[in-house]
């Protein structure tokens, strides 16, 4: 495994560079928005990747609630944390696109607001994990993760159900897209998914190590004379 990680990291970096080239050079310039439309090649794949990670978080949380496996709890934590980072990218790049196109940074429309609320739910999930030390924390967090997952279909379908300022979906919507644009979009999504996988892998190893260290501290405090244990 230790040899596979660097190889996959190099492959992922290569794919990210190729995806960037596709987004900035190969994909044609959109007629009305111009080059600013190319933000779409980072904005949309970031959201899709975050949603995949939140569904992984949902599945792992359900598994934890049923089987109480620590590995499932770790997968849930890691996927939520990396998902929050990807959704933050989506929330930051969206207003940067909106300012030149809509003339405003932000509007409280259904899609934007529901995305922000979903992000805040997962941030609260991470804060619960970080600041609560009780034995029930993973169970409470898993329950919160189920609530967070319920928001994701709402975010995705909000542009179908409600009148919003947000553009219609690229896939499954009424509009059409140039095949070169679609290719650039899908390549960027693939690159982001690979990158997210590598980040999750690193974060999982870190979490495993952290739990091993915590366990070692607990063992040390049992073995050490009274008052000398650190934790």
């Amino acid at each position: 495994m230790k040899r596979v990680f660097p190889i996959l990291s190099v492959l992922t970096a290569t794919l990210l560079i190729y995806a960037l080239y596709q987004a900035l050079v190969v994909a044609p310039t959109e007629q009305t928005m111009g080059d600013v439309q190319r933000i779409f090649y980072y904005h949309v794949p970031s959201a899709w990747t975050a949603f995949i990670l939140f569904f992984v978080n949902f599945g792992a949380s359900i598994l934890y609630l049923i089987k109480r496996r620590p590995a499932a709890d770790m997968v849930a934590l890691v996927s939520a944390e990396v998902g929050v980072v990807f959704l933050l990218v989506n929330l930051v790049t969206g207003p940067i696109w909106a300012r030149p196109v809509w003339g405003i940074w932000w509007t409280w429309d259904w899609r934007l607001t529901s995305t922000l609320v979903t992000w805040l739910i997962y941030v609260s999930y991470l804060m619960l994990r970080r600041f609560s030390s009780g034995g029930q924390t993973p169970t409470l967090a898993a329950a919160l993760a189920v609530l967070g997952a319920l928001c994701i279909p709402f975010v995705y379908f909000s542009i179908w159900f409600f009148r919003t300022q947000h553009p219609q979906p690229v896939i499954g919507g009424d509009g059409s897209i140039d095949p070169r644009m679609m290719h650039a979009l899908l390549i960027n999504w693939l690159a982001f998914v690979c990158f997210a996988f590598m980040v999750c892998w690193s974060r999982y190893r870190l979490e495993k190590l952290q739990r091993d260290v915590n366990q070692a501290y607990a063992m040390a405090s049992l073995l050490a004379p009274h008052g000398s244990a650190r934790r």
Binding site: V89, V92, R99, Q210, A216, M219, L223, A224
Partner: protein, 52 residues
Amino acid sequence: MTNGYLFAAYAATWIIHIAYLGTIVSRYSRLKREIGELKKPAVTSSVSSLRS
């Protein structure tokens, strides 16, 4: 001017990702130090299972 927004969006994306990767590396370094402390003789038996 629109190129400025494009650059800002792509730069913000990688600043966020690199900052997050930085926190992972920093937490990993701190854990390595803690493992070093734990591997002192008094607690060696309890940490023998830790990966180096």
